[in-house]
């Protein structure tokens, strides 16, 4: 986590691409330089070697025809007019007989047939160490002829290659990585602004748009496309919201009039009227209809996630305890023991009203389906999988094959057809779970009954609000 935080650049795709590219570039530059070095040296050496070979051929001719004295004479002659050419004729004990080299070379390296050595030569009145390349030619009677060429210029050139190469590679790496970092930072900034905007939109602020840099590059094109998409989504959401509102308004207004009229009739009736009970029953039916309609509307709205006004940081543990407390007398009246171990503080971000209603629905269901003398256990706690609120009862439970169905709207199982309820209770719980990015998990309670778990993601956890920390 710490390494990730301190080197965010390393994680960007841009920087990785630049890194690979720079390494490849540095490698190929080094290879190119190495090849040029090798090839230049080979060509120059071949030229030098040809000259030396030609000289040796000529001098060996002289040796064969004129003997040692003739050879010494020729060497002496040539030494005087030599430019690059170097000669040394010695006897078996390395005593100089003729040539423009004063001594037998001290250090010699022998690549193939040819040797390379350093020698001293006066240049502009100063002695200078210079590099030469030549070949030794053994004569009969232990005499040795050394024919060489001064290759100091080539030597300097090739040495330049070997010293420049590491610097060049280092410079390429340095500039490449620096440039890469700069590029990726720029890219990261652009991506960050897109990420920040989408984060705010996910949090419910649909009016946000990705800012454009104005450069008309591919990021701007991406941002423009995203913004167009967001415009569309916002329009759809607004449309949905308007539909919900007008459905609500257009159905509630006549329902309101209907209820008003029924109440009016009820207030004007005389106790002796035979149909006075009928009016009360009609009002009760109307209220049931209204209740179902309200629940449906709430589920639709929650499912669509169009509402974000009521999001606050709340203590889930405390809310669970409150709901348990609300239902405790009812459980006692039905001789059901409502068990709730103390809850820890679980601060999450959520809609208080929706969560309270979901919790109440779960507990309400559990009490409704648990027979007398049964037991309902409510627990809450944070685990590795998420933050769980568990309501377990000792009722008949729900067969595994029916579980996916019971969260659908209006689904009521055969066994519960005759008990009161709209068949929307669990649908609402599921919608509230969905709204909060949570899950509603139904499983068997041991030994029997239903275990309903409302599992919020760990990412919903928040630091408790300062107010309650100060208390």
């Amino acid at each position: 986590m710490a390494a990730k935080a301190s080197f965010p650049l390393l994680r960007t795709q841009a920087f990785r691409i630049v890194l690979v590219y720079v390494l490849l570039f540095a490698f190929s530059t080094a290879a190119l330089l190495a090849f040029t070095y090798w090839n230049t040296r080979r060509t120059l050496d071949a030229q030098t070697d040809q000259i030396i070979e030609a000289e040796i051929t000529g001098l060996s001719d002289v040796w064969q025809h004129l003997g040692l004295r003739g050879l010494a004479e020729t060497v002496r002659e040539r030494s005087v007019h030599s430019g690059q050419a170097l000669y040394l004729l010695t006897d078996g004990l390395h005593h100089v007989i003729a040539g423009n080299l004063d001594t037998w070379p001290q250090t010699m390296v022998a690549p193939g047939n040819f040797i390379e050595f350093d020698y001293e030569r006066p240049v502009d009145g100063k002695l200078e160490m210079r590099r030469a390349r030549g070949r030794m030619f053994a004569l009969t009677g232990d005499f040795v002829l050394l024919v060489a060429q001064d290759v100091h210029e080539r030597y300097l050139t090739t040495r330049m290659f070997t010293t420049t190469l590491p610097w060049t590679v280092a410079l390429i790496l340095l500039l490449g990585l620096g440039g890469g970092a700069l590029m990726s930072r720029n890219m990261l900034r652009r991506l960050d602004s897109i990420n920040r905007t989408s984060g705010q939109i996910i949090a419910g602020d649909l009016s946000r748009r990705v800012p454009l840099a104005g450069s008309g590059d591919e990021f701007d094109t991406l941002a423009e496309n995203l913004n167009r998409m967001l415009d569309r989504i916002e329009r759809l959401m607004k449309g949905l919201r308007e539909v919900t509102d007008s459905v609500a308004h257009d159905l509630r207004t006549p329902l309101n009039r209907l209820r008003n009229r029924l109440e009016e009739m009820a207030s004007r009736r005389h106790a002796s009227d035979a149909d006075s009970g009928e009016i009360d029953r009609a009002i009760a039916e109307a209220d049931k209809l209204i209740g179902t309609f309200n629940a449906l509307l709430l589920i639709a709205e929650t499912d669509a996630g169009t509402t974000r006004v009521g999001m606050t940081v709340l203590d889930l543990g405390e809310m669970v305890a409150d709901v348990a407390e609300l239902y405790e007398p009812l459980a006692e009246e039905r001789k059901i023991s409502l068990v709730m171990p103390p809850c820890e503080n679980l601060s999450i971000e959520g809609n208080r009203s929706l969560i309270a209603q979901a919790l109440a629905n779960l507990v309400d269901n559990a009490i409704k389906y648990t027979p007398e003398g049964g037991r309902v256990t409510i627990t809450s706690g944070a685990g590795p999988a998420g933050i769980d609120v568990t309501v377990a009862d000792s009722g008949p439970g729900i067969p595994a094959e029916d579980r996916p169905r019971v969260v659908e709207r209006f689904v009521r199982l055969e066994a519960s057809r005759n008990s009161p309820g709209t068949g929307l209770g669990l649908s609402l719980v599921a919608a509230v779970a969905h709204f909060h990015g949570a899950e509603l998990l139904l499983s068997d309670n041991v030994p029997h009954g239903l275990k309903a778990v409302l599992r919020f993601p760990r990412s919903a956890l928040r630091a408790p609000p300062l107010k309650s920390a100060a208390e």
Partner: protein, 224 residues
Amino acid sequence: MRILVIEDDLEAQRYLVQGLKESGHVVDDAADGETGLSLALSRPYDVAIVDRMLPKKDGLAVVAEMREHSNQVPVLFLSALSEVDDRVKGLKAGGDDYLTKPYAFVELLARIDALMRRRTPTGIRTRLDVGDLELDLLTRAAKRSGTEIELQPREFRLLEYLMRHAGQVVTRTMLLESVWEYHFDPQTNVIDVHISRLRAKIDKGFEAPLLHTVRGAGYMIRAH
């Protein structure tokens, strides 16, 4: 009491005005936001009932402007919109209470009574009395005829709310909203069970019951 009704659904308005008049209130009515606002700003009212969606000027805007003009008349919003955000919006705009249509008239009446009662401050009270029942808000102790009554914290709040509205009808929804802070309708009537528990504590063994059930409406605590 003078009540202003701003409601554009004339059928609903007629019913509301008639019901309020029958309950002994003086009622003015307006069918759009602008008329409603000018009435609210020109005459003294004890309470205003404002529909959330109104022609010419939206209900939220009417109340927001009333508050801008330092008009502190308690406002009850009536709304036919979907509920989740709307309650929050209504209260933010300066509303004091919120009721979703369709509503029961008794519920509306009880809430108006509570709003008007809130308007006449009785000073900071440290003790509430109803008959021989006393509630000390500082020591959080309840006594009836001098006998101490043990109350759970929530029972205390429930009794306190009922006694603050002594002589008034208090509906189940009102109790759920103010004592439990829940704005939804539990499927099973849990409030009734809480009330019967409370009743067992304060009325059991006494000749005259204080906590009464008002049929079809809710509960009321009163001495006689």
